[in-house]
């Protein structure tokens, strides 16, 4: 092909973070393939996520970013390929399996339950019970407590327009709804947090707060996979950037070695990484 090639940065390591990349990856995938009838979703993708890093995944629309993280988090089961968590092969059959392994995900379609209210959604499948026998014997939910803490979580993301915490999420604005989904992942992720375009519907201020949250998660030692079309955001928080293209991996770069323009060029196929497959 005649596309100009860029310097190799496969497995490039961000400066000053060499120690992280000496460790074993927390989550690894090799040669993931998934097809939907005649449509090829993933075409043999590798991915490594190291502990305490923010790995951004960028790519054109339909490049397979969401499909990739769905395969990693048990929402899809790949047709072939291997996934390892802390070096151990894992077979997530459903999202719940990944969750139990400490991987919390915000999917692009948000996965909120329309008719349930904000607190119920935030704590869905993570409910807290009342103290005392009411909780332990009767398994009664601590509705008040969850509602209070849910309100706090959402406000922490800068959403201050919610007038009524018992609104069903189907009546929330697009951004409010996204904030609920993001708040959930932030609150419960214990090892890996995966965010598929978490700021797509968010305002300027709210997006900034989500980026801060991502940094905080990293600082707490968690690993974050961040999918975004917002290049400035990506270059701001990412340690490494996985570039997805036409169902395959076009390469991995770091914000230090490549600038946004180059990133977009690789993503769209205008340039390609030297030696990359």
């Amino acid at each position: 092909m005649s596309t100009p090639t860029l310097e190799v940065a496969h497995g490039g390591v961000p400066e000053g973070k060499e120690d992280i990349y000496a460790k074993e990856p927390v989550l690894s995938a090799r040669k993931l393939v998934i097809t939907f009838g005649r449509v090829v979703g993933l075409d043999g993708v590798d991915l490594d996520l190291y502990p305490g890093e923010v790995l951004a995944v960028i790519g054109d629309n339909g490049a397979g970013k969401s499909t990739l993280i769905k395969c990693l988090t048990g929402a899809y089961v790949a047709d072939s390929g291997v996934i390892t968590l802390n070096g151990q092969p894992v077979h997530f059959k459903k999202p719940q399996d990944a969750r139990e392994a400490g991987i919390e995900t915000v999917y692009q379609q948000l996965a909120v339950i329309p008719a349930l209210d904000i607190a119920s959604n935030l704590y869905l499948a993570r409910e807290e019970r009342r103290r005392g026998p009411l909780g332990s014997v009767l398994r009664m939910l601590d509705k008040k407590g969850m509602e209070k803490r849910a309100g706090q979580s959402v406000q922490d993301l800068g959403i201050q327009t919610i007038q009524n915490m018992s609104q069903a999420v189907e009546t929330l604005s697009g951004g409010q709804r996204q904030a609920v989904a993001v708040a959930r992942a932030a609150a419960f992720g214990s090892k890996v947090v995966v965010l598929d375009e978490p700021t797509a519907a968010l305002g300027v201020k709210e997006s900034g707060m989500v980026l801060d949250m991502v940094k905080q998660l990293r600082d707490r030692g968690l690993s974050v996979i961040l999918i975004s079309h917002n290049m400035p955001h990506v270059w701001e928080v990412a340690d490494r950037i996985h570039i997805q293209r036409l169902g395959g991996r076009a390469g991995v770069v770091t914000p230090q070695t490549h600038d946004m323009g180059e990133g977009v060029a690789i993503m769209t196929g205008a340039k390609r990484l030297e030696g990359s497959s």
Partner: protein
């Protein structure tokens, strides 16, 4: 933002409202009041139309007539909340009833054991529905349509089509038909059991995580799955619990009918689904309240009882019931629709 802007909405809220609108407004804020309101209207109408309707003894009879379908409708409600449907309600109940009675009569089993086996069998039948729905991913309609035939046939083959009279049965199996009176107002233990079922399931649905999962799975199964709700386990549990409830309904029915008959309640399906839907639960799952089902069952039964007390003949009663069901739900819709 400033006071001037705020006032636009505030002004709108302060607009003139007629008394009717105010009632509507009140009911709108408390949607579960609306079917209750309908029930009240029906009571007043029948009170005017018939001298024998609003008497203590009639009210007792009305409750007794509602008991079985109200019990079945609890199971139907949780199934429908998960966006399913259960066509095998009646068949499971009848099968359970015939097994209880046959074991106690022919097998000479003590009442408590026969009851336990019968209820367990119903629970297992529900679990079978649940397994077919969750393991083989079959639509609930098909599964329960199939098991409807299967359970009906087994009940007939097992019982040989014979009914078993109460006097051949141990007292325990008939016990729910007995009761106590407050003056002419007679309640059976069956009614008490139904109330207990509603209380327990109402608590579970609204106060526990399990209840939330039921709603979540019904409202948006894919989102529920992605959120980590153990959907399959919940579905299986729902069908199993429903079966358990049908088993208890079988016990109530023996007491009520004073016999176990293989043809006991052929329109159990339609009657139970009707109670659920009139009670405001969506057939698409995820939306509805159990108390609505109770009121729904009462509304249907009240219409039928009221019309019969007015001496309306069967065919006209069928006609009137059809119209009244539509009118009742239309009024309900009107109340809910209006802007607060």
């Amino acid at each position: 933002m400033s006071t001037e802007v705020t006032s636009a909405a505030a002004e709108f809220a302060r607009r003139q409202q007629s008394p009717l609108q105010r009632v509507q407004h009140q009911l709108h804020g408390r949607p579960w009041l609306s079917p209750l309101f309908l029930l009240l209207v029906a009571f007043v109408a029948f009170f005017i139309g018939s001298a024998t309707f609003l008497t203590a003894s009639s009210m007792g009879i009305l409750l007794q007539q509602t008991a079985v379908v109200a019990a079945l409708a609890v199971g139907q409600t949780i199934v429908i909340l998960t966006a399913g449907i259960d066509l095998s309600v009646g068949a499971v109940m009848v099968l359970s009833m015939m097994v209880m009675a046959t074991l106690a009569k022919d097998g000479g089993m003590p009442g408590i054991l026969a009851l336990a086996v019968g209820v367990l069998l119903a629970t297992a039948a529900g679990a079978l529905n649940g397994l077919l729905v969750t393991r083989i991913n079959l639509p609930p309609f098909i599964v329960t349509l199939g098991t409807l035939s299967v359970f009906t046939a087994i009940a007939l083959l097992y019982s040989g089509g014979e009914s078993i009279q109460a006097d051949h049965l141990p007292r325990l199996l008939n016990f729910l038909g007995e009761g106590f009176g407050i003056g002419d107002f007679r309640l059976t233990w069956g009614i008490i059991v139904v109330i207990l079922i509603y209380a327990v399931m109402g608590f579970v649905l609204s106060q526990t995580a399990w209840g939330r999962y039921v709603y979540a799975v019904g409202d948006d199964p894919e989102s529920a799955r992605l959120s980590g709700v153990p959907s399959k386990r919940i579905l299986l549990a729902v069908y199993t619990v429903a079966g358990l409830i049908y088993g208890i309904a079988a016990w109530i029915l023996i007491g009520r009918a004073g016999a176990a008959t293989p043809n006991a309640f052929p329109d159990a399906n339609l009657a139970s689904i009707t109670a659920v839907v009139i009670g405001g639960t969506s057939l698409f799952g995820g939306r509805g309240r159990l108390v609505g089902t109770l009121i729904g069952a009462l509304i249907v039964q009240t219409l039928q009882f009221g019309l019969s007390q007015m001496g309306v003949d069967q065919q006209w009663r069928v006609l009137a019931t059809g119209i009244l069901v539509i009118v009742a739900v239309a009024v309900d819709q009107w109340i809910r629709k209006v802007k607060a």
